[in-house]
């Protein structure tokens, strides 16, 4: 009976959980990158331009991982 209750709660569209799980890592990663970039820019303001450029590059790489998960949601649902 417990398993049928559990199953009744989980039916429906679980593809959204895919993206939810995929967004944890890049969320923490991007926060860390930007935090370190702010720290670098505050320590040495004349290197702010280089830090900002490298920050955007790092954000793009980590955000791509979250977006792979987002695209997979549509691939799984579309099947």
């Amino acid at each position: 009976m417990l398993s049928s209750i559990l199953a009744a709660g989980v039916t429906g569209d679980v593809a959204g959980i895919t993206y939810g799980l995929a967004a944890i890592g890049p969320g923490a990663g991007i926060g860390y990158i930007v935090g370190k970039a702010i720290e670098a820019m505050a320590r040495q303001p004349e290197a702010a331009g280089m830090a900002r450029t490298t920050m955007f590059l790092g954000i793009a790489f980590t955000e791509a991982l979250a977006l792979f998960g987002f695209v997979l949601v549509f691939l799984v649902k579309g099947n």
């Binding site: 450029t53 955007f56 590059l57 793009a60 955000e63 791509a64 977006l67 792979f68 695209v71």
Partner: protein, 253 residues
Amino acid sequence: MIIAKLVFPPLSHILNWKNIAPGFNKIGVIAILAAGITLLVFAMASKGDPLTAPKGIRNFGETIVEFIQNNVIMQTMGRDGLGWTPFLTTTFCFVFLMNISGIIPTFQMPGNARMATPLFLALIVWFIYNAVGIKHQGFGGYMKSSLFPPGLPKPLYLLVTPIEFVSNFLVRPFSLAIRLFANLMAGHILLFTFALMTDSLLKSVAWLKPVAVLTVAMLIFLTAFEVLVAFLQAYIFSMLTAVYIGSSAHPEH
């Protein structure tokens, strides 16, 4: 004399365009317009006088070229990458115009929100950075420097080489395409979700209608955010292209 009544096509025809030719849909028109506008702007800019201070459209063209040179090429490839300015400027302008068409009123469809154009652009970049690597280091030298990074103890190469192969030759173009495509598609989905939510709230029961103010505010904010995303994704695509070409031409080891 009887003038026939003007018949306007239904409003949905503004957004759902009919195909002009088989397979040539709205995104085809957007792509041709993006390329055409880029060509037109730079053709008009090149007619200015190169010896006096730039004015008008020439000033605009020079601003874009200087932006690419100072912020993309000098940061990633250094001074001897300046020969790549035309390619990177074209890529940046084309990707930016395709992205920004997502918020222009009668288009409202980012050209990069379907996988065709980002995939093709990523394949072009893949061919170019491999061709540059082979040209500068020879085929054997290029494979060696990309698959066998120097300075590792010998048994570790068994583990590192497959990882380097997948990372350099498979993941790079794939992630370039997916990054551009998924960012734009996600923005587009958010925009039409809030638009449809506003519409269905306004057509529902009377006590729900004020909630439409919140969704309209979110829609306005998202439109402004899409401008930032369009510019940022074009900038990231150009910068990563420059990084890949630079690392093929001069491997950092």
